[in-house]
Assembly symmetry: C2
Homo-oligomer: 146 residues x 2
DNA sequence: TTCGTTGCAAAAGGTTTGCATACCA
DNA sequence: TGGTATGCAAACCTTTTGCAACGAA
């Protein structure tokens, strides 16, 4: 069990003072264009393809920032690799990912949210967090390969 | 934890023919004694402490076998490390883990199971699998440091 | 000028694999 | 005996970090 170190999310009102750099803009832009989850490595490759020279390190760092800022949804693929998808609204969403084609679709997870909330009451646990990874095989991929 | 579904890994009815070796017995035994999730590395350390000489590789391999056989629940900690906990019955369970002390407690996840089942119908996805990681701060850890 | 940002190379860390050896059945 | 299982070392991979150079404000 890795002990989670204290991380007071409610940081002192300090403004991070993010700078708008060419690299960050490129990452944000490319990520925004992705409709499916992408890994840092994939994103780095995409950036390279589009001619943007952005270091892999920077991609990782930027993605981490976005995660902290709650601007992306993050899941882990089977290999433990983190996958990112830009989050439209401020709400966190859950996605159902097809193991065949990799496409994902957001799902209504209200029941889960409610259940989690109830769980907090029942167990006395506070600051509940949950990560939900859903996968399956979509109708198209399940269909006969004709 | 992942819903264990059929392993269509093209398994031609071959019998795995597991052998009962000293190492496997030791791993199984030590794992069975653990009441909380443990990582492969931790398990390896525990084995070493108890005098059992089992290679780390073997621990990893055995754990993977157990996972495939659906005999353990697996979660990933914040660092992406896999944590294992022997599964009592054949049922898969979800656990709520305290970020303070690391202790876990199984929770009733029926609502989630039902929701997932309904989701399958609605979306047309088949062979749904889900992994749910729940964490929070237990009452004891949240209590004032007296 | 200042100090956040970048990027390369290297370090970390967990997990897997190659391969010769040991051993259960 | 034959095919498994083991274990060491090396390989793999993703992610992080050290540090000198860079550039937005």
């Amino acid at each position: 069990m890795t002990d989670t170190e204290e991380r007071p999310k409610g940081a002192r009102g300090r403004a991070p003072a993010l700078r708008r750099t060419r690299q960050r803009r490129a990452v944000l832009d490319t990520l925004g264009r992705c409709r499916e989850f992408v890994s840092a490595q994939e994103l780095h490759a995409l950036l390279a393809d589009s001619g943007s020279t952005v270091g892999l390190t920077t991609v990782y760092r930027t993605l981490r920032e976005l995660d902290r800022a709650g601007l992306v949804d993050v899941v882990r693929d089977d290999g433990g690799e983190r996958m990112y998808l830009r989050r439209p609204a401020g709400e966190h969403r859950h996605h159902l990912i097809c193991r065949g084609c990799g496409r994902s679709r957001p799902v209504d997870s209200e029941p889960v949210e409610e259940w989690a909330a109830r769980l907090a009451e029942i167990t006395g646990f506070t600051q509940l967090q949950h990560t939900l990874e859903l996968s399956g095989v979509c109708a198209r991929c399940a269909a006969p390969p004709s």
